[in-house]
């Protein structure tokens, strides 16, 4: 008796779900998996802006859903599965740690398209996309090297993955170029989003003499800590963080995902979606540089803008030789630039950075 009731209700539920599916068929459903809350003021905030831009662009023809604060790892598979079962046509998974889960779930739902941010594993229905944040890091490094008085620059890392290491290297190369005495202190927070821990890390770095804080974590907490401390400058990460301008935030790297999200949604609608690997930078507009405030001397600002222009038009590559690796071995010869494969898998520091990269 009980079993039959259960079966009947399950059948009913399936029928209803099927009905809803048919109803929504005219609409393209786009799902987003976020690693932090949409109000983090940084990374996830900008992805959500991209989602809103998709809604604005396509209006009634599209339906977006998102789940925020999804832990990297197995829990994200559950979220993706649910989205796919709910009829999503396209799912953006917006953190590095979703890479294997995305591949696993994509294999189970061959008709659903997946887009994984900052990863390197692709499949027939999995694209990857990322932005060349290291181009922005070069500009930050330049400003940081010019601005530091203590010659100690603090860097809050999240996880030791190629994207973060690339950013550290790029910032270091350009800080060193304008200030040979500069030293980087790197602290790994092992989190993308934990305001209290990020603030603690910033405070520790400041206590240890850093007067510039670069962050590769998602919240604005390090900005608040720097503001408390006074004479410390910071850079907005992933989002403009303009509420902390003109001091401590003197500039920022802004991720602009909207054009990409709109283009990919359009491709699904038109049936032209194919698995691709997109990696755009300042030139294509995926990476923006936030306004450089008056806290930066005019000539430094000019140099920074010139650097930005040369990166944007392709005349300068932030990883241009001669460069050596941390262990002293050769990385790039005079005039040689790093290819994308090397950059994508970067797992070493350049010469001059102290400390080891955690495994």
């Amino acid at each position: 008796m009980k079993l039959s009731t259960l079966l009947a209700s399950a059948a009913l539920a399936l029928g209803l779900a099927g009905g809803a599916y048919a109803d929504a068929h005219g609409k393209t459903k786009v799902g987003f998996v976020f690693v932090g809350p949409v109000g983090d003021g940084g990374w996830t905030y900008e992805h959500n802006q991209g989602r809103l831009a998709v809604e604005k662009e396509f209006g009634d023809k599209v339906e977006t859903v998102f789940v925020e604060s999804v832990a990297e790892g197995p829990d994200s598979e559950r979220v993706m599965t649910q989205m796919a079962l709910d009829g999503a046509d396209l799912i953006f998974t917006t953190s590095f740690g979703y890479m294997d889960p995305t591949i696993n779930i994509a294999a189970k739902f061959p008709d659903v398209k997946f887009e994984h941010a900052t990863g390197y594993k692709r499949a027939d229905n999995v694209s990857t996309y990322s932005a060349r944040f290291y181009e922005g890091r070069a500009i930050q490094g330049h400003i940081a090297g010019k601005m530091t008085k203590s010659n100690v620059i603090g860097y809050i890392g999240s996880f030791p993955i190629p994207e973060v290491i690339r950013g550290i290297n790029s910032a270091y190369i350009h800080a060193k170029k304008v200030n040979p005495d500069v030293e980087f202190k790197i602290v790994w927070a092992y989190t993308w989003f934990d305001p209290a821990k990020e603030a603690d890390a910033a405070k520790v770095l400041i206590e240890q003499g850093a007067d510039v804080i670069l962050q590769h974590t998602d919240s604005t907490a390090p900005q608040a800590a720097a503001q408390e401390a006074g004479n410390v400058i910071t850079f907005g990460q992933a989002s403009d963080m303009a509420q902390y301008a003109p001091m401590p935030r003197v500039s920022s790297i802004i991720d602009n995902w909207a054009p990409y999200y709109i283009a990919r949604t359009k491709a699904v609608m038109d049936g032209t979606w194919t698995s691709t690997d997109t990696w755009d930078g300042i030139g294509a507009g995926m990476v923006g540089i936030g306004e450089i405030t008056d806290a930066v001397p005019a000539e430094v600002k000019e140099e920074a803008l010139a650097l930005k222009a040369s990166i944007a038009d392709g005349s300068y590559h932030p990883f241009t030789g001669p460069l050596k690796k941390q262990d002293g071995s050769d990385f790039l010869a005079e005039g040689e630039t790093a290819d994308d494969g090397t950059l994508a898998g970067m797992n070493f520091y350049v010469e001059g950075i102290t400390g080891d990269i955690p495994n």
Binding site: G39, A199, D356
Partner: protein, 306 residues
């Protein structure tokens, strides 16, 4: 490696601050659990306290009013839990989890217009000449009033639980609610008060993060402190002093590992990063080798008819 770049005075002062939210939240939960109630909503009550305190401090310009509002906010949310578990006899684990989810969502809604706002600063307590004592001055006498209040609260809770009739009644309710009921104690009322105390403390802890430790409002900013507080209560085997020790250990090692990383110590970062959890648990487990156990009625539903 350059250990000289670590300033021990700033380090100790820093970890006292880092431990304070944990002390408040865990202490509140300890009292609730001593009365036999398992409230898994600590994280939710903390984040509600964080935004209530932040919003009030910004609107009134007074951080102390902010802390008061945080306590009220946390207690108000805990009343919802008290209603569900004490009046409607709902499952405590499920209600607590729901409270956390609700608190996280509701605080995000309340906090919409406070993102990027700078809160007023709570001044340090003026200890006069004490502050000028070398080393000890900056470590012990350079904090805000709420940090000292947190320490005092541990002493008060310990004394009340151990030496007063009120504490005895609270423990009796937590050990055997049927016996306590038979003796004429109002189990539901006592538990409701304990839950509210827990909520108020969690709220204070949350506000300490948003007003002092970070200081800013960001969605979800407690980021798991409530869960650590819950674990701490168990590992401290429901004893206030051990809880204090555990909180300082956890806060201290968290700060220490950041400092060591900054100084470039040659210990793999992975070990440093996990050390606060492991060492705190180890020390407290060793300490709890005696016969102290959970309150016997912990998590059990009480109704006078049973």
């Amino acid at each position: 490696m350059d250990l000289s770049s670590i300033n021990p005075v700033l380090f100790v002062a820093g970890f006292l601050v880092a431990a304070t939210p944990l002390i408040f939240a865990a202490l509140g939960e300890l009292v609730a659990e001593k009365s036999g109630v398992l409230n898994l909503g600590v994280e939710g009550m903390m984040i509600i306290g964080a935004i209530c305190g932040f919003a009030t401090a910004v609107e009134t310009g007074s951080p102390l009013l902010g802390f008061a509002a945080a306590a009220v906010g946390g207690a108000a949310l805990s009343l919802l839990f008290a209603f569900l578990t004490q009046i409607t006899l709902a499952n405590q684990v499920a209600s607590g989890l729901a409270l956390t989810l609700f608190g996280l969502g509701f605080s995000a809604l309340l906090g919409q217009s406070y993102v990027g706002v700078k809160p007023p600063r709570l001044a340090e307590v003026n200890f006069g000449p004490l502050h000028d004592i070398p080393v000890l001055g900056p470590i012990l006498f350079s904090h805000d009033i709420v940090l000292y209040f947190g320490f005092a609260l541990v002493v008060v809770v310990w004394a009340v639980l151990k030496y007063t009739r009120a504490g005895l009644i609270l423990r009796a309710v937590g050990e055997s609610h049927d016996a306590a009921h038979a003796l004429g104690f109002r189990v539901v009322r006592i538990r409701t008060l304990a839950i509210m105390f827990g909520g108020a403390c969690a709220g204070l802890g949350g506000a300490y993060i948003s007003l002092i430790r970070v200081p800013q409002w960001t969605e979800g900013m407690t980021a798991g402190v409530g869960w650590i507080a819950l674990a701490l209560v168990v590992f401290a085997s429901w004893k206030p002093w051990r809880l204090l020790l555990g909180a300082y250990l956890f806060g201290g090692i968290t700060q220490l590992q950041l400092n060591l990383q900054g100084a470039g110590v040659a210990i793999p970062v992975e070990y440093l990063a996990m050390s606060p959890y492991i060492i705190t648990i180890l020390v407290l487990v060793v300490l709890s080798a005696d016969k102290s156990a959970a309150p016997a009625s912990l998590g059990r539903t009480f109704h006078a008819s049973s």
